[in-house]
Amino acid sequence: MLKIRQTDPRSPRATRRSFLAGGAAATGAIVIGFRLDLKNTARAAAGPDLSGVKADPNAFVRIGADDTVTVIIKHLDMGQGNTNGLATILADELDADWSRVRTEFAPADAARYNNLLMGPIQGTGGSTAIANSWFQLRKAGAAAREMLVAAAAYQWKVPAAEITVANGVVRHAASSRQARFGELAASAATLPVPQEPRLKDPSQWTLIGQRTPRLDSAAKTDGSAVYALDIRRPGQVTAVVARPPRFGGAVKSFDDTATRKVAGVVDVVAIPSGVAVVAKDTWSAMKGREALKVVWDDGAAETHSSDAILAGYREQAKRPGLVASERGDAEAGIKGAAKVLEAEFTFPYLAHAALEPLNATIEQAPDGGYDVYAGLQFQTIEQAAVAAVMGTTTDKVRLHTQWAGGSFGRRATPTADYIAEAATILKATRARAPVHLVWTREDDMSGGYYRPTIYHKVRAGLDAKGGIVGWQHVMIGKSIMIGSPFEAMIVKNGIDSTTVEGASDTAYALPAYRFEVHNAREGVPVLWWRSVGHSHTAQAMEVFIDELAHAADVDPLAYRLSLLTGAPRLSGVLKLAAEKADWDAGSKANGKGRGLGIAAHESFGSYVAMVADITAEDAKVKVNRIVAAVDVGVAVNPDVIRAQVEGAVGFALSSVLRNRITLKDGVVQEKNFDTYEPTRMSEMPVVEVHIMPSSAAPTGIGEPGVPVLAPSISNAIFAATGQRLRSLPLDLAGLKGV
């Protein structure tokens, strides 16, 4: 039984502002002055100790008289299932009945709902939702539980220490009394909040570590879940925007005569990003835009082709770059090496291509404030951006976060681009009607904010025994942070850690290592794409390590393990994946078009290894099976973790096999799923996910499954065919199967 601290319900500190009433969040004007500390998000495991966070049940849980326990979710759920994990954490400490647990997205309130790993910013990203909330929600649940127990103790006149709680019921065994949460909530709400509630010992967890069925399954299988695109406000109009065909372009002039004749079109307005066509419905807005004649001004536009941009990188990489990491003398090591290997890796721009295209609804309320409905991922920034456009203060901007139909990073922009754009249309139409801004698929795909195109060149020397005596690494790509409001805080000595993460800080024991980076400056907007820098650094590191292992004539698993003696969690997942995939036997049968490839990588404080089993045919690869092992600390909800890794494979596979965004004279060529085709059912491999038992504080799994897929497949292709494919998407044209 748990020891319960008894609290006197008659305490003068008692307040009615309670978890029962929900405590409407008090929002004050927020001065924009962000500090986004991505060092924390990148390495959540080694991040700050968050156990001192205050217990604030009023912010995170509401218990209804009908026994429902509503957990307030401060993050965006774009499919990664964080609502389930976050609710699980709180519900476990509360000893709630899972079948009565509901979730609700929090309003914008940077004081209450900031991401503890992002400083004063409310936002979702960097696979931090669970990691930053772990102590916050445990404390909130534990405090609420103690308040319920104290209320029962007072009513029953029994010692709190004799009271037990399970499944939403509070009991006193000796007097055979019990009460449901709903019966106690009102009186519990009058109690002071215990500041140091006692947290459970892991042995007492009843939900954490178990499969808690997803709370969103029902609504997402009967059409009732509301996404941003489904928002219907009274009298709303739909807007689509004609934007310049090249990034950085502008409107020179436009003729809307024909547009205004299209049935359903109600307005055409010039806005900073282009020309908005406003109509009664989406179809009419799209027809109206087709009829619009715009003359574009490409004077300041990016007009390069993506091939030329990459060719420029290759040249620039020959010049000295910024040193992001250095130890030992790599050049001297390579000079004295018995064998020298060199490889080049290129990566294309990638679109996020979430299935729900970008969209947002904004309206002016009778009180003069503004209400925004969208898949809001960076609430504090979005609130500030809307306030800036409307010329008001942030307290006048209310945000209503909706389920998001995917994001993969795209809904979190430092500029709040499409949210701000919706506000510009509301302003240009004088807020006559609620405006629903819809980006068509073509707008979404050609609208930039891509995973940057990247070039890596790696050179390493081996001694006679296969030991790595020098590693020189040069990479070039456009920084996400330089030029953003976060530049001053994130970029150190010209180096953006989100560009080089996963390579400059490699876990491999490389005594002589030099990593240089160049920041490219082309006018293509770039952004984090599920796993950010790791989406390319893992491929460069893990394929090249594989090459070195083969050059040293050592088994690729054994070779890695020999270099990871100081990285027990990474080597742990490698061993687990290898064991479950029967690596030793399977890899002996490599060749003749069939092969196993292995890769491992740490990202966002989580460790993932994968063994890919592939069949190579002429100009074609079939991925048969992926065996994954993950170490995310405490597995809050193992089934959601498995789902995220399965999904990471499905998401990333098409970027391994074919996806690329290409620019021709500055114009994006891929506009829809016919030319940028996501993975389909028939291509999906069998995915097995094994979770490493751990008592470490939980980290994230939204992103870490992505980086290792490409190298595991690339290495398997080599094992199957002897052909080394490095750049993504894999150039399968020359592949010879057997």
């Binding site: 499919g79 990664q80 299932g81 069925p213 997803r214 969103d216 399954s217 029902a218 609504a219 997402k220 299988t221 009967d222 059409g223 009732s224 879940a225 509301v226 996404y227 695109l229 489904d230 219907r232 739909t238 049935a263 009664k280 419905d281 989406t282 179809w283 291509a353 979430a354 299935l355 729900e356 295209p357 389920w403 998001a404 139909g405 995917g406 993969f408 698929r441 089934d639 959601v640 789902a643 995220q644 399965e646 999904g647 990471a648 494979v649 499905g650 998401f651 596979l653 829809n672 799923f673 016919d674 085709e677 996501p678 993975t679 389909r680 059912m681 028939s682 999906m684 069998v686 995915v687």
Partner: protein, 151 residues
């Protein structure tokens, strides 16, 4: 003015006969469970049933629907629909969930015609439905699960 029968209810819609059924459902009849993903029949998010057959509503003009009965995710019922929805929930297939209306409409179509589909049958019936979250493994498992329920 056009008449459309959606989920057993007859509606009058004041819209261009060229308008895709998708937008009439979403913007005029408030049936937002049917999703827009691509507008060019590449993703299947807009899948509805016309007289029981799965069609891409983004490519179906309302002027061409005539007397056909339209069923959307909000209106599915019967043994197959219940088996499919039950399996989706039992296996927690969904992630973002945005494509799942279309996936479910395609799966119901498949299992109605073929109560015991092979892996190849599933590939054939479901390859037109994109899930960007990559839930395919669970969709496949849920279809098999629903088939067992129906057996």
């Amino acid at each position: 003015m056009l008449n459309l029968t959606v989920n057993g209810v007859r509606h009058t819609v004041d819209a261009d006969p060229e308008m895709p059924l998708l937008w009439a459902l979403r913007d005029h009849l408030d049936k937002t469970g049917t999703k827009y993903g691509c507008g060019i029949a590449q993703c299947g998010a807009c899948t509805v049933h016309l007289d029981g057959q799965p069609v891409r509503s983004c490519q179906t003009r309302i002027g061409d629907v005539g007397e056909a009965k339209i069923t959307t995710i909000e209106g599915i019922s019967g043994r197959v629909a219940e088996a499919v929805q039950g399996a989706w929930r039992k296996l927690d297939v969904v992630q973002c969930g945005y494509c799942q209306s279309g996936q479910i409409m395609s799966a119901i179509g498949l299992l109605t015609d073929n109560p015991k589909p092979s892996e190849a049958d599933i590939d054939g019936a479901m390859d037109g439905n994109i899930c960007r979250c990559g839930t395919y493994q669970r969709i496949r498992a849920a279809i098999h699960e629903a088939a067992r329920t129906l057996a």
